[in-house]
Each structure stands twice: as C-alpha cells, then as structure tokens.
Amino acid sequence: MQINVSNDGIYCMIKIDGDLDASSSIILDNVLKDTVSNNERKILVDCTSLHYISSAGLGVFMSYLQEFENNRTQLILFGVSDKIKDVFQILGLDQLLTLATSKEDAKLLVNEPLL
C-alpha cells in the first residue's frame, strides 16, 4: 500500500494505491493528520488504484468527518470502484462523503464554494 501526497497550491491530492487494511490505515491517519495541521481546505482523494478498504480504513475516514466539517474543509473522493461504492452505500457513508466520478469532476466540485 502506498500513499502519495502532492500539493499544487489549490488543493491537496492524496493518491491511495493498494489495500487499505488495518496496518496501512495508520499511514492514512497520519497523512490526514498532516493535512489538518497544514490547514488544507481542499482535499482530493484518488481512489482509482484503491482495491480494498477494511473497516479500519473506513474508520479513519469517518473519524475526520466532523473535523473537516468544523473547518469547512472539502473532502472529495474520485475514481472509487463499484465495490467500494457499495460498501459506502451500505454503511451510509455515501451520504456523508462526496464522491466524484473522475479527477476533472472532482476538481470542478472542489472549486465550487461550499454551500
């Protein structure tokens, strides 16, 4: 599992490759912690190479939702596989996370001011 973080000034791009299991979700936790301390307000998560997400991985995302909401941070996931979309949907996370189909759509969403 690899996580690459890049920043182009407007938004912060997090690319996750591989499986997000219990041990690798700790890395994701650290990455998200860094974005908070760096005051990132627009975060895109590239899930095109994300194959599997465990409950630990889901928990990591979920634990930052409130904080992101408080800071008015936009978190947008794109390229999510159907299988993982189903997982989000059963859990109810699809109502809380913004999912985009592609990087371009995600960028468009990010540039819209928060309602």
């Binding site: 889901l58 990591v60 634990s63 939702l65 409130q66 859990l91 109810g92």
Partner: protein, 686 residues
Amino acid sequence: MLSRRNAIRIFISVNIVSWLVLLAVNLVNLFDIGQESYLGVPTYVKGILFNIFLVFTFFYYRIKLEESNDTDFIELLSQVFVTGFFTVVISLFVQLVVLVAADQSAQVIEQLSVIFYHVNIGLVTVLLTKTLFVWKQMVLYKKSRKLQYAWNAFEFGLLTSLLLNFFPLQPFDPAFLVTFVLVSLGGLILSGNLKWVAYLNFNQKWQAILLILLTSAFLAYFGQLLFSYSTNRVVMQSLTHSAFILIIFSFVSIYCLFSVLVILFNIPTSSVFEKKMKEIINFQQLTHSLQAKRNFSQIYEVLLDSTSSAVLANAAWLEVFNESGQEVQTFLSKNISKEEADKVNELLPETSAIKTILVKPLLQNLKLGSALTDSAALPYKSILVVPLLAHDMQIGSLALVRNVSNGFDKESTEMVNTFVRLAGLAIENLHLVANALENERYQEELKIARQVQDRLIPSHLPGHPHFQMCAYSQGANTVGGDYYDVYDLDKERRAVIIGDVSGKGTSAAFNMAQLKGVFQSLVEMDLSPDLFLTFANSSLSRCLDKSSFITATYFILNAENQTVQYARAGHCPTLYFCSQTKEVRFLQDQGMGLGIIRNERYITHVQLNQFQYKPEDIIVLYTDGITEARNATGEEFGYERLSAFLSAHSLLTVQEIVASFIEELYAFCGTKHLNDDYTFLLIKFI
C-alpha cells in the same frame, strides 16, 4: 602422598641440613690438607651431600612454581630479578666480610673462604634453579604435548647429570663433555620457545628487556665468581666441575639472550599484533551483543566504533532507515557532523549503495578527490560504504572515510564487511525476539477477546411459538466481533438485533460489550427501531473510540400483527424469502452505521421500515464475514450465492437450512477456517 605444603617444608629443611652438613664436612676437610685425616670422608660422601642439596633445591622450586598458571610474565621476570638481586647482595656482603677480615691469620682466612664459598654455592644454586623454573613457565607457554615431553626429557637429563657429581671429573673428561653437550643442546632447542613475547604489549616489552638484562648481569657476576674458584686450591668442589650447574647456567643464559633479541625484533611489529588483539576483542564484544539481548543503539555503537578503529578511519557514520526505507531514522557518527556527512553523501555518484536498495554488496574506495575537498573543505580522500543488511533487506548503511587516498585495502574491507554482517545478524536476532514476544502477546490478547466474545452472545436461542430461529456464529482469530441477541418484549413480540463491531482483538471485544450493554438497557424501553438506534448511537458515540463504528440492524417481530418493524444502522441488507411468490430479495432501505455521526443529526439518517409477513416466510440476518468470505482464487462468496442458496433450501427446517448453508460456505472456501468472524441467523415465521 604428601601434601604440597608438607613436601615444601621437607624440602626446605633437608636443603638447609644438607647444606650445613656439607659446609661442616668441608670445614673439617680443611684441617686435613696436608695432614692425615682421621675423619677420612671420601669424595663420594661429599658428592652425595652436594647432590642432596641440589636435588632438593631443584624439587623445591619445581613444586613451588608448578601450580602458578601465571601469565603475568613481567611479574615472573620481576621475581627472578628480585631473587638475583638478593643473592648478589648477600654474596657481596659476605665478600665484604672476608675483605674486612683480611688481617686475620691465614687459617681463619681459609675458613672464612670456605664458608664464603659454600654460601656462594647456595646462592648460585638458588638463583639458577629459580630462574630455571621461571624460564620453564615461559618455555611451556601455550605448550604442545611434544613440547611438554621434550621439557620432561630435559629435566631428566639434568637429574641424570647429577650422577657425575660422584666422580672427581675434570671438565674435559669424555663422560662430562658428552653429558654436558647433549643436555645443553636439549636446552638450546627448548630455548626457541618464546611465544610469550608476542603477548606483551609495547610497554611490557621494554620492561621485560630491562629485567632480563639486569638478571643477566647478576648471572654474569656469579659466573665470574665461579670461574675464579676453579683456580682456588682450597676449594674442594668446584662448581665448574658440576655438569648440572653448568648446564642450567648455559640454558638460563641462552634463554636470556634469545628473549632479549626476540623482544627487540618484535617491537616494530608489536603494534600490528596489538591491533589484531583489539579486533578480536571487538569481535567478541559484537558476539556478546548477539547473545545478550541488548537494544539496537548499543549494536550500532559497537559497530561504528569497531569498524572505524579497525580500518583507522578518520571519521565514520551510520545511517539506519525507518520501516518504509524512505528516511533516516537513526544517525550515529564519529568525528563528523551530520551536515558534513550529508555533504559527502551528496557528492557520491548515483549508484552509491546509500541511495539505492540494490544488492551490490560493497562499494569501495570511491575517490572523492578534489571535488569534495574544494567545495566542502573536508579533508577526506577515500570512502568505504557498506550497506547494513538484515532479513535480506538493506536497513541502513555505514560509511568510513580516510584522509589518505586508497585508504582501504582488501583486508580492511573484508574486516569491515565481517563486522557489518555480524551486526546485521545481531539486529535480525533482536527483531525476531521482539516479533516473537509481540506475537505471543497478541495471541494471548486474542484468546481473551475470544473468551469475552463467547460470553456476550447468547448460548442458546429461546424457542417461540411463532418464530423459529437458528443461528450459527463463529469467530475468527484475527478480526473484530459479531454480535446478536434476542429479547422477548412480551408474549407476541420479540426484539432481535444483529451487529458487527469494527476493530481488532480486545478493542472489538470491548465494543461488543458496550453494544450488548446498550441493547440490554434500551430494549426494555420498547422503543421503535429508529428511536432505539438513535439512542443507541447517542450512547455509543460517547464510549466508542474515535475511529470505531458499529453496524447493526434492530428488529421487532410482532406475531400478533404478523409484522416486522426494523431499522438498519449501516448493516448488511437483510435477506427475505417470500413463501408465496418464492421470491428472494434483499431488503432495501437507508441506514447509517452507529458512531459515524455523533450528534443529533443522526436521526435524520435513520429510516424506520415495516413489512407484513406470511407463514413460511424467512428472513436471514448475517454479517459481512459471510458475503466477503473468499475461496482460494480470491473470489468472494457474495450476495448472489447467498440468495440462491436460500431460494433452493427454503423448505427445510431452520436447523437444516443453517447446517447445510454452513457446509456450502465451507465447501466454497475450501476450508473451515475463515478469515473473518461470520454469523448466520435464520428466522422462519410460523
């Protein structure tokens, strides 16, 4: 057998007695010169007395010095020096006495001379014998069997030569000559054993030379004294006529000479030997680190110190990477700062072992040359970089630099390589030990979690006139807990809950205990399922940890109305079989897991559902351990198989359905041991 101490006492007393008797006899003999002796003591008696004296001195020192396994050679040499010193002093003192008494009568002078002579015999014998046996210890240092036999033969030869004392022989008699030459030759050959010299350090070598030279001076003094007696007509036994004494004298002197020469010639190379000894000590230290379970930093320190001193490096540094291999986690250096080390690192070509995780084992002698010295003002001209390997991976690298070009030869490189490999082994060992401990702790933890979980799930499902229920739940070893429970609200209504707890090991068990507690307390309040979940979410939000959540579905089965009311908190969709239409479908509804929205807005995400059931209808409650169970090729069991199974087996009793489902699940997976907890709860309406 005599004890050692007693033997020594006997020897001393016999020695003294025989010496005194010999003295007495010779004094008496003095009166006999030129006169007819009425005592008529024959020569051989004198020979016996003399021999007794020699033999017992011999054995006294032999025993005394036998048991000391002393390898402190300077100490031994000092003992010899001290003995020599005292014997010479006493001898000089006696000589003084004789001089002082020069104005006495000739007779008195002669008597004094005899006494003086005997004293000297005693002193010389003592000095020579003591020195002989101290030399024995040096010769026999690190001895082999052959050497031991050779020495024993030499001693035997010495003792045999004592027989000659019985005969008034001249030095050039054949018997005398042959014995003297043979045994001395033996002594000469034995004098080649000087291994102890190599084990002295530089200072000790100079001390040894001094002590031996002084001892040689004492021996020379006694030597000239003895030869002066050979012309003295008064003296009855000249020690120069004693092969025994002469042989010992020659052996001891030759050994002195050889020792001094060998020490002198060893001095230039002693530094090399000491370096080798230091390297061996370093190897031993490293090996101890292997056995004594030290921590990593001690291993790193020993590695850095031993390698830099082994190759005379001017500076050295060790970098250890963190787990992902991206950054330097530990940096240790000697005689160089991190900034300087980084500068050197930058100047190395791209293929350096530091920058890649390649298998190239050794990168040696990169000439840093002027590029480095000009730009960084650092004096290093050659560098040796060795990757630190453990578990077939590079976990770090060691760099050594020297101020001279071509500063690392093949031998140094090999030495460093060996040290690094040893250190790698020690590190692997520590990792394995740490892993084993952690693993054990983990297994214990899981065992406890399993036991806790087993107590939280109902041991059996109570029967009911209107609902037939059967459940099968099995825990996995590694992941979080499943939960289900039932509660009869009244005669007609039964509450059922199924839940899946996230997390692993003990934290999952705790979460499940919290869910059970929440269920047990809320269920009696007879809330509608959506309210139940809302309150459950509220209390769980306060006690679940930050990134944990729970999925659940809460049902109220009502036999009176033949209805099922339920709300789904993010759990797997319930499977429903309609006996009338024979249709199998998953109930669709909106839901949100517990602990995800930890405020009052949760209720907006909860949906209350209700449906009517007919007899023979079936609902299946399950956890994702069922649908996500994988077979050998990684294919998941999935929802389709689940619904297909129910379709095909709907007419059986609940127990039969559950049993055959589990069989099919195991058949699909190819094993009875699944990776995740799984629960299968079947409810058939009557």
